[in-house]
Amino acid sequence: MLMELTHRCPLKCPYCSNPLALDRARDELDTATWKRVISEAAAIGTLQGHFSGGEPMVRDDLAELVGHARAEGLYTNLITSAVLLTASRMTELAQAGLDHVQISFQGADAEVADPIAGLRNAHAKKIAAAKLVREAGLALTVNAVVHRRNLHQLPAMIELAVEAGAQRIEVAHVQYYGWALKNRAALIPTRAQLDEATIIVEAARTRLNGILTIDYVVPDYYASRPKACMGGWARRFFNITPSGKMLPCHAAETLPGLRFERVTDRSVGEIWADSPAFEVYRGTAWMAPPCQGCPRAEIDWGGCRCQALALTGDAAATDPACGLSPNHALMAALAVAESTAAIDDFAYRMIS
């Protein structure tokens, strides 16, 4: 379960996974409702609770919610920009039983990172916060989102993770939904940049075996098979938005014609079990050829519905990341055209 506690955030990253239409503070679920949601999720067998946003640390009740999730048996993970992390809040979160912290880094130094985050001094605050996490004895993952403006710093970002005492780094190429889709031309790397990044990651994995785990997410615009988005629609993941909508993936609101139920109207277990928006792409029955009957249908589950919609206009189409999709060539052509054009300015994330 991914809990987007809020859409408020001091950063303005142009690839933010939040929707373009952001929830306002006054529409956020209250503490009691979040606690009920956590209990209901635990009751249906949810194993992990990821506290995210926006910036989850803008919520004063974060430690209370972490403590509740921990008491319900969930593995608790904080996904944060860390610019608001102070020593006292770190102590409070550690005492609440937080298992793990993920800090996003936008580059390897302030000169590259701060203009991407759209916040001065953000990078220095993150370095200081990483130290607080390690001093509190908690495990740390560095989230490094990479794209054409910072890929040249990938080796330095991996070093930063080692020096920060992280056990794990996620090197994630931007996935093009929401704000990232809007900024795709400013972010998408060339094929040569991608190949170089993959070589760097492979070499670092060998060199840092047992020291740093490297998880690597490739941009599927250059792929020949789609990713199993969310591990398959409504199979193992759900997201709760700040205002309480329950979604099978965090970009699902881009899909037209689906009505997402609210946890204030029905329980997490009921929505998970039979909400039409969860049922519509669950399993394989909804698939058309070439997915229907494909031996990989239960491996990649047809790829990503939001990407299929964004690039083909049909949410039930085969993800064009798949080489068997009739739209595959179009996707590759888009990537080549945009990645080799002059770099666009960013449209920074903001509440409109």
């Binding site: 992990q48 495990a139 993952t141 047992g210």
Partner: protein
């Protein structure tokens, strides 16, 4: 012993043990569960193998090989702290 960020517990909903780590859920088989239940931060791999070999009346060399294989795999994933 298990790394601080890894949790090992029984899950009622699935009726099996689970190992929980960032972005990872592992469902260990019964042999792995027996090994993990003995990883208390004190017992050596050798003494875990002794205990398991006696408990299951199995050849110690094979048990030790199983233990090493599983623990090395978890160590490579950063899930075991020595």
């Amino acid at each position: 012993m298990l790394s601080r960020h890894v949790r090992f517990r029984f899950d009622e909903a699935r009726d099996c043990h689970v190992l929980l780590a960032p972005e990872r859920v592992i469902m260990p088989d019964p042999i792995a569960v027996a090994i993990l239940e003995r990883c208390d931060g004190v017992a050596s791999v050798g003494s875990i193998a002794d205990d398991l070999a006696a408990h299951y009346a199995a050849p110690r060399a094979a048990v030790l090989a199983d233990c090493l294989e599983m623990l090395n795999d978890l160590a490579a994933k950063g899930m075991i702290a020595s």
